[in-house]
C-alpha cells in the first residue's frame, strides 16, 4: 500500500507540475493575477507530494519491504538503520527521486520566500521550474520507477553495494544534488528574464542568493565526495579527474563564474547578456552531469547503445532544455540593453578576467571529459584523458587565476589603478616570497615548483588580509575606529576575503600532500615494525570481529613517535556475505594538519600482511579550505542587502540610504 501511495503521489506531483507549467505562463502573458498566483500553491503542493513520495520509498526501505524491486535490489534486513535510509538514494531510481525532491524544495522556496519578487517574474520563474520538474517526473515514471513490485516477495534483499555502506553516502549525494539542482533557479530566472525581455540590477540581486546557496552546497558536496573517496579507496588519492568527478566540477566552475559576473551586473548593471548565458550554461552542465552519470555512457559507449532507454530519455531532456534555452537566448538576448561602461583595468575588468579563466578551465574539463566519448563514437578510436592531461592544461589556468585573485577586490569600480593596487599588495607579495624562501630552505630543493605554490597560497591569504585592512583602515586609523569599521563592513566583503583565503588553503593542502607525502608498501608479520617520516608502527596481529551484516578482519598497530606511544590504528577489511564482496577500511590518524593513512591488503603465503602506510602532510587543508570557502559563501549570503531583498522600482527615496550604506 505504501509504495503505491508513493507512486500515486508522484503522479499527482506531475499533474500539478503540468498545471504549473502552463497556467502561470498564460497568466503572465495576459496579466491575469489569479493565474499567476496559482503557481505559488502548485509549487508548494508539488513539494508536498514529492516529499510524500520520497517518504513512501524511505518507509519501504526502513521496513525492508522486499516486495518492492528497488528495495530488494539495494537493501538488506540486517543493515543498520542509517544505511537503510541512505540506500534510498544509493541507486539510480532513488537518486532520481532525490533529484526531483530537491527540485521541488527549491521551487517551493521561491514560492514561499519570493514575496518581494515582481508577480510576473515570479510566475514565469515557477513555470520554467515546473518544465524541468515535469521532464524529470516523466523520466522517473516512464523509465526509472522505484515503486515497481515483484510478483513474489523474496525473503532477503541483495544488500546495498558495500562500498556505499558508509556515512559518506548520507552526506555526499544530497549536498551534491542541492548544488546541481539549486542552479536550476538561476536557470529559471534567466529564462524568465529572456521571455520578459527585461533584466536589470534587481534581477541579479534576486538571483544571487539562490546561486550562492547552490554554490555553497556544491562546494561542500564536492569536498565531501573527495574525502569519501580518499578514505574509502585505500590509496589516499583525493581527486582522480574521473568523468563522474568532472561532471560535478564543471557546474562548480561555471557556477563560480556566474557568482562573480552577477556581482558586476548587480553593482554596475553591466555584463547582463553574459550573466544570462552563464546561468543557462551552469544548469546545462548540471544536466549534462546527470546525463553522464545516469545514462551509463561513461562505462562504455556500447553499454549506452545496448540499453539506451534511460540514456535517450535524458538526452532528449538535455537537447530540449539546453537547445531550447540557447535558441531563446540567441533570439532575445540582443534585445537586452547593455549598460555600465568600464575601463579594462577596473573591478569589472578583474571579474571579466576571472570569468574568462573560469570558463576556459570549465571548457578544458568539458573537452577532456567528452572528447574520448566523441572520438570513440565517431571513429572507433579509443584514447584516455587522465590526470597528466589536466595537470598541464587545467593547472596553469587555475594558477594564473589564483595569482590574479588578490588584485580583484582591491581594484576600484569603473576605472582602477593597477600600479596602486600592486603597491598595496607589496606586503602580501613579500610574505609570499618569504614563504617561498623558507619552503626551499626546509625541503632542500626536493621540488622546484612546490615552494612557489606555497608562496602563491600565502600571497593570496595575505592578499585577503590586505583587502580587509584597506577597507577598515587598519594601521592608518586608531584601532577602535578600525574595529568599528570592520563590524560595519558589508558581510559580502568579508565573504570575498574568507572564500579567497579558503581556496588558498586548499591549494596549500594539495601541494603539501602531493609533494611531501611519503609512503611505505611492505609485508609485515606480527610484532614487526615499519617506520615512516619519524613514526613507528608495530603490527600486533589480526583479529576477527562481527559487524551487523559483515565480518571484519582487523589489524592492530601501535603507533609511536620518538619512542613515546601516541595511539593505536586499526585498519580492517570487511567481507559482506550477501554480495560476496569486501571493502577496505583505512585507518586515519590526524597529526597536526597532516594525516597518517594506513590500509591493509592480503595476507601473503608466508603469513605476512601487505600494508600500505602513507604520511600526508597538510592534507586536511584540502577539505578544510573548502569549508572555509563555504563559510565565505555563508557570510556573503547573510549580507544585509540580500536579506532585505532588492529595492522595488518606485520605492520611497527614504529607503535608499540604508541600501546604499550596505553596498
Amino acid at each position: 500500500m505504501i509504495p503505491e501511495l508513493g507512486h500515486y503521489a508522484l503522479v499527482l506531483a506531475l499533474a500539478l507540475g503540468l498545471i504549473q507549467s502552463v497556467a502561470p505562463a498564460i497568466g503572465a502573458r495576459y496579466r491575469d493575477a489569479s493565474l499567476m498566483r496559482l503557481a505559488d500553491s502548485t509549487a508548494l503542493m508539488q513539494f508536498f507530494f514529492v516529499a510524500l513520495s520520497f517518504a513512501a520509498l524511505t518507509a519501504s526501505y526502513v521496513t525492508s519491504d522486499f516486495s518492492v524491486a528497488n528495495v530488494y535490489e539495494n537493501s538488506h534486513s540486517m543493515m543498520p538503520l542509517i544505511y537503510k535510509m541512505t540506500s534510498v538514494w544509493g541507486n539510480h531510481e532513488g537518486s532520481m527521486l532525490l533529484w526531483v525532491l530537491i527540485l521541488a524544495v527549491f521551487g517551493a522556496g521561491v514560492a514561499a520566500f519570493g514575496a518581494n519578487l515582481p508577480t510576473r517574474l515570479k510566475a514565469l520563474v515557477l513555470a520554467v521550474q515546473s518544465w524541468i520538474a515535469c521532464a524529470f517526473y516523466l523520466f522517473i515514471l516512464l523509465t526509472s520507477n522505484p515503486f515497481l513490485r515483484l510478483a513474489q516477495a523474496p525473503f532477503e534483499g541483495r544488500d546495498l553495494n558495500p562500498i556505499l555502506q558508509d556515512p559518506g553516502l548520507a552526506i555526499h549525494p544530497p549536498l551534491l544534488y542541492l548544488g546541481y539542482v539549486g542552479f536550476s533557479i538561476a536557470f529559471s530566472f534567466a529564462i524568465a528574464a529572456l521571455i520578459e525581455g527585461r533584466i536589470d540590477a534587481a534581477w541579479a540581486r534576486w538571483v544571487r542568493p539562490w546561486t550562492l546557496a547552490a554554490w555553497m552546497f556544491l562546494t561542500l558536496g564536492i569536498a565531501m565526495g573527495s574525502y569519501w573517496a580518499y578514505y574509502t579507496l585505500g590509496w589516499g588519492g583525493f581527486w582522480f579527474w574521473d568523468p563522474v568527478e568532472n561532471a560535478s566540477l564543471m557546474p562548480w566552475l561555471a557556477g563560480t563564474a556566474l557568482l562573480h559576473s552577477a556581482v558586476v551586473m548587480e553593482k554596475r548593471n553591466a555584463l547582463k547578456i553574459w550573466t544570462i548565458l552563464l546561468a543557462i550554461l551552469t544548469f546545462s552542465l548540471s544536466l549534462i552531469g546527470t546525463f553522464l552519470v545516469r545514462s551509463g555512457v561513461l562505462t562504455s559507449v556500447h553499454a549506452f547503445a545496448t540499453d539506451p532507454t534511460r540514456g535517450v530519455f535524458i538526452l532528449a531532456i538535455l537537447v530540449l532544455f539546453i537547445g531550447g534555452s540557447l535558441t531563446l537566448f540567441a533570439w532575445r538576448a540582443p534585445m537586452l540593453k547593455q549598460g555600465g561602461l568600464f575601463a579594462p583595468i577596473s573591478r569589472e575588468g578583474a571579474l571579466v578576467f576571472n570569468n574568462l579563466f573560469l570558463t576556459t578551465a570549465c571548457l578544458t574539463v568539458f573537452v577532456g571529459t567528452l572528447y574520448p566519448l566523441a572520438l570513440e563514437a565517431l571513429t572507433g578510436e579509443k584514447i584516455s584523458v587522465g590526470p597528466p592531461f589536466y595537470d598541464v592544461t587545467f593547472g596553469p589556468l587555475m594558477l594564473a587565476l589564483i595569482f590574479a585573485m588578490p588584485f580583484g577586490p582591491l581594484l576600484a569600480w569603473k576605472r582602477g589603478d593597477l600600479l596602486g593596487v600592486a603597491q598595496r599588495l607589496m606586503s602580501a607579495f613579500a610574505l609570499g616570497l618569504v614563504a617561498v624562501g623558507i619552503t626551499f630552505a626546509i625541503e632542500g630543493g626536493q621540488s622546484v615548483l612546490a615552494p612557489f605554490g606555497i608562496g602563491l597560497a600565502f600571497f593570496v591569504i595575505a592578499g585577503s588580509a590586505v583587502d580587509l585592512a584597506e577597507r577598515t583602515g587598519l594601521f592608518r586609523v586608531p584601532l577602535p575606529t578600525a574595529a568599528r569599521r570592520a563590524a560595519g563592513l558589508p558581510r559580502s566583503a568579508w565573504g570575498t576575503a574568507v572564500a579567497h583565503a579558503g581556496l588558498a588553503l586548499t591549494l596549500l593542502g594539495i601541494i603539501g600532500a602531493a609533494t611531501w607525502g611519503t609512503e611505505r608498501i611492505v609485508a609485515l608479520k606480527p610484532s614487526q615494525t615499519v617506520a615512516l617520516s619519524g613514526y613507528e608502527l608495530t603490527f600486533q596481529g589480526l583479529t576477527q570481529r562481527r559487524g551487523p551484516n559483515y565480518t571484519a578482519e582487523v589489524a592492530t598497530f601501535v603507533v609511536r613517535r620518538g619512542g613515546a606511544t601516541i595511539g593505536v590504528m586499526e585498519p580492517s577489511k570487511r567481507s559482506f556475505s550477501a554480495r560476496a564482496m569486501s571493502t577496505n577500511e583505512a585507518a586515519l590518524k590526524m597529526q597536526g594538519l597532516g594525516q597518517l593513512y594506513l590500509s591493509i591488503g592480503d595476507t601473503e603465503a608466508g603469513g605476512a600482511l601487505a600494508v600500505r602506510l602513507y604520511y600526508k602532510p597538510l592534507v586536511l587543508l584540502i577539505w578544510f579550505g573548502a569549508l572555509v570557502m563555504m563559510l565565505g559563501g555563508a557570510l556573503s549570503l547573510s549580507d544585509r542587502r540580500l536579506r532585505v531583498g532588492a529595492p522595488k522600482p518606485g520605492k520611497k527615496p527614504a529607503a535608499r540610504p540604508a541600501m546604499q550604506a550596505a553596498e
Partner: protein, 158 residues
C-alpha cells in the same frame, strides 16, 4: 558515487578480496628505478578499469602491467622506450595523457584557442567602448529646449 560502485564491481569481479594497488613483492630493490616505475605507472591506464592508472588499480591486468614496466626498466629501457613499447602493444588508449596528433587536435587546441579568442574579443570590445565613449551624443530636441530656457532667449543656436 558511481565511481565507487564501479570500482567495487571491478574488485568483486577481478580481485576477490580487495588487493590494494602496488603490492610489496612488486617493489624493485633499486629506489631510483622504483621511483621511475611509480612515475610511469601514474601515466598509464589500466585498460579494464574506468579511468584508473595502473598505479591505483587493483585489477590483475594492472599488476601485470606494473611488473612489465619494472622488467623493462631493469632491462635498461629509458622512460620513453617503456611508454613506446606499451603504446606499440596497446595503442594510445594506454596513455593517460593523449599524444598530440591530428585526432587529438581539438582536445589540445580548444582550451588555448578559447582563451585567446576570449582575450581578443575583450580587447576588441574595450576599444569599441573607448571610441563610443569619446563621442558625446548630440542634444535631443527636448534637452535643447531646456537649455535655451536656461540660457535665455536670443542665444544663437549652435
Amino acid at each position: 558515487m558511481r565511481r565507487l560502485a564501479f570500482i567495487a564491481l571491478v574488485c568483486a569481479l577481478l580481485a576477490p578480496g580487495i588487493a590494494a594497488a602496488v603490492q610489496p613483492d612488486e617493489i624493485l630493490k633499486d629506489p631510483v628505478l622504483e621511483a621511475r616505475a611509480r612515475h610511469l605507472s601514474e601515466e598509464l591506464r589500466c585498460m579494464v578499469c574506468q579511468n584508473q592508472s595502473i598505479d591505483d588499480s587493483a585489477a590483475p591486468l594492472a599488476r601485470d602491467l606494473r611488473l612489465l614496466v619494472r622488467r623493462r626498466l631493469e632491462a635498461g629501457d629509458t622512460d620513453r622506450q617503456v611508454l613506446d613499447f606499451l603504446v606499440a602493444r596497446y595503442g594510445d588508449f594506454v596513455l593517460l595523457k593523449p599524444p598530440f596528433k591530428l585526432e587529438t587536435l581539438l582536445l589540445w587546441g580548444l582550451p588555448p584557442a578559447a582563451l585567446i579568442a576570449g582575450l581578443i574579443a575583450l580587447f576588441a570590445m574595450a576599444r569599441q567602448r573607448k571610441t563610443a565613449n569619446l563621442q558625446p551624443s548630440a542634444l535631443t530636441a527636448d534637452e535643447q529646449k531646456r537649455l535655451s530656457a536656461l540660457v535665455g532667449p536670443g542665444t544663437p543656436e549652435p
